[in-house]
Subunit: 277 residues, 2 copies
C-alpha cells in the first residue's frame, strides 16, 4: 500500500517512521517546511515526496496538521483522492473536524475517518519523531455511522500492523469529552502548577511526583490553544469540576477536618486502584 | 558503624537495604510488625533486631515512623542514645518534628538532625522496599542552627555513601513550604483528578499525561492525612494558589480569549523550561 502523510512534525514523522519500521508499505510525505522533508528523506522515513501529482495514487492519506489546517487541506483536496482511499486526520479534537468533513465526504468514493493517535512528547517537529512513539498507544478512530464494518475491521488491523498498541472506536463527542479529561485538563493542570515563585527553588526538594505533575507544562502553546478552543465547552466543564474537587480538599484542610480529609483521600485512592485492573 | 532503623516499612526497609547494598555497616532494625522484622532478617536487610538493649550501641539511629510516632519514640528513648549518636527522623514534615525535638536535645550528648528522604512508591510496607529507592534522590536535612559544620559534612558524606543522589540542607520552615508545593499538593491534585465519572472509561482514551497526573492518587490516606494536617497552613496556601491559577485558565476558556490562553500557556512552558537547566 501507499501511505501519504501530510505534515511531517512529531506525529506525522513518527507515523512515517513507525510504518517503515513495521511494514513494507510505501510512504510519501510532505510538509510546508523543506527541512522536515529533507530530514524525512535522508532518514528514510519517507520513500518520496508527496505531491499534488502523486496524491491520487495513495491508498491511505494521514493528515497530521493542526485542526483548522487539517480540515482546510482535506476539503481542498477532497476530489484528489482515488476511489476507496482512506483519509484519516490526526487531530486531538474530533467534533470540530468530523462535523466539517463528514458532510463533505457524502457521495464521495473516498472514505474519511476521524483519527487521534494517543501519544506525544514535550517536543515538536520531525527531529523528535520516533518509530516507537505509538508502541502501547491507542489509536482512536471516529468513523461515520454508516462506514462499512468490514472497512473498520481492516482499518483497525492496519493501525495495529503499523505499531499501535490498540485501536478504540468512538463517537466524536465521546472522544472530545474523554480527551478533555484525560489529556487537555492534564496540560492545564501542569501549566498552572508551575506558576509559583517556589518553582524555581524545587531542586533538592522534589521527587517523582513533582516531575510527573509538571511534565507536560512544556507544551506547544499555539497547538494547545487551538485544541482547547475547539473543545472549550467540554474542557470548561472538566476544569470547573477539578476546581470544585480541589476546593473540597482545601475546605477540609482549612477546617482541619481529619476524618473528612482521610475520607476524600481514601475515595481517590480507591478510584485510582479501580482504574488499574 | 552500627545503624539502628526504627520502622521497617517502605522507607525504613529501603534505607536498610540501601545501607547493606552500598556499605559494610551493620544494620539493626525493629518494627511493631513481627512479619516485617522476619522479612527484613530473611532478606539480610537487617543483620539483627534492634532492641532496647542494643539501642545504646548504635552510632546512627534512623527513625522511619509517622510524624507523631517518630517524635514519641525519640522523646521516650532520648536518654538511651550513646554520646555522639546521630538521631535522624524520616518524616515528610519538619516544623512539627523539629519544634518538639530540637529543645529536647539541648544539653544531650547525642545529636538530632531532622531528615526527609525524598523518594517513595505508591506502595507501603517492607515487602516493597528497594535497595535503589534513593538512587538520584535527595536527602533533605534540617539540623539545629548550632550543629557543628564538621558533623554536617560527615552526615552529608554518610548519606551520599549509602546511596542518595544528593543532600540538601534546609530550615524546617523552608522544607515544609517547598514540600507543600512539590509533594503534598501533587498528591492532592492526583487524588482530586480521578474524581469524575469519566475516570472509569479512560482506557483507550488516555496516554502518558493521564497516567502521570494520577499516579500518586494511590496513596496511604492515613499517613498523608497526618502529613497534611501537620503542614496545613502552608499546604492550604499552596492549594489555594493552584485553585487561583486554574481559575485563570477557566476564565480564559470561558471567555474564549485566545490571546490570553496562549499567553498563560506560554508562561507555564517558559517556567517549566527554566526548571530544566
Amino acid at each position: 500500500m501507499v501511505f501519504g502523510i501530510v505534515g511531517l512534525g512529531l506525529i506525522g514523522g513518527s507515523l512515517a517512521r513507525s510504518i517503515q519500521f513495521h511494514s513494507e508499505h510505501t510512504v510519501w510525505g510532505m510538509d510546508i517546511d523543506e527541512t522536515a522533508i529533507e530530514q524525512a528523506r535522508m532518514t528514510q522515513a519517507i520513500d518520496d515526496v508527496l505531491t499534488e501529482e502523486n496524491l491520487p495514487q495513495c491508498d491511505v492519506v494521514l493528515v497530521a496538521l493542526y485542526p483548522q489546517a487539517a480540515v482546510d487541506y482535506i476539503l481542498s483536496h477532497i476530489d484528489c483522492f482515488k476511489p476507496g482511499t482512506l483519509v484519516i486526520d490526526c487531530c486531538g479534537v474530533k467534533r470540530f473536524v468530523c462535523s466539517r468533513l463528514f458532510p463533505a465526504f457524502v457521495g464521495k468514493q473516498s472514505i474519511f475517518i476521524g483519527g487521534h493517535p494517543m501519544a506525544g512528547r514535550e517536543r515538536s517537529g520531525f527531529a523528535y519523531a520516533q518509530d516507537d512513539l505509538f508502541e502501547n498507544a491507542s489509536m482512536i478512530l471516529t468513523p461515520q455511522e454508516d462506514t462499512d464494518t468490514e472497512i473498520l475491521r481492516q482499518v483497525k488491523e492496519l493501525f495495529l500492523s503499523i505499531g499501535f498498541g490498540r485501536v478504540r472506536f468512538s463517537t466524536p463527542l465521546e472522544h472530545d469529552e474523554m480527551i478533555a479529561f484525560t489529556s487537555q485538563l492534564a496540560h492545564i493542570v501542569s501549566s498552572a502548577y508551575v506558576k509559583t515563585p517556589l518553582a524555581g527553588k524545587h531542586k533538592g526538594f522534589s521527587a517523582g511526583s513533582f516531575r510527573d505533575m509538571t511534565r507536560v507544562a512544556r507544551l506547544n502553546e499555539t497547538m494547545w490553544t487551538e485544541l482547547f478552543l475547539k473543545n472549550d465547552d467540554l474542557l470548561l466543564t472538566q476544569t470547573q469540576h477539578l476546581i470544585d474537587q480541589l476546593t473540597e480538599y482545601r475546605d477540609a484542610l482549612r477546617d482541619r477536618d481529619e476524618e473528612r480529609l482521610k475520607a476524600i483521600l481514601r475515595e481517590g485512592r480507591e478510584i485510582k486502584e479501580s482504574l488499574e485492573d
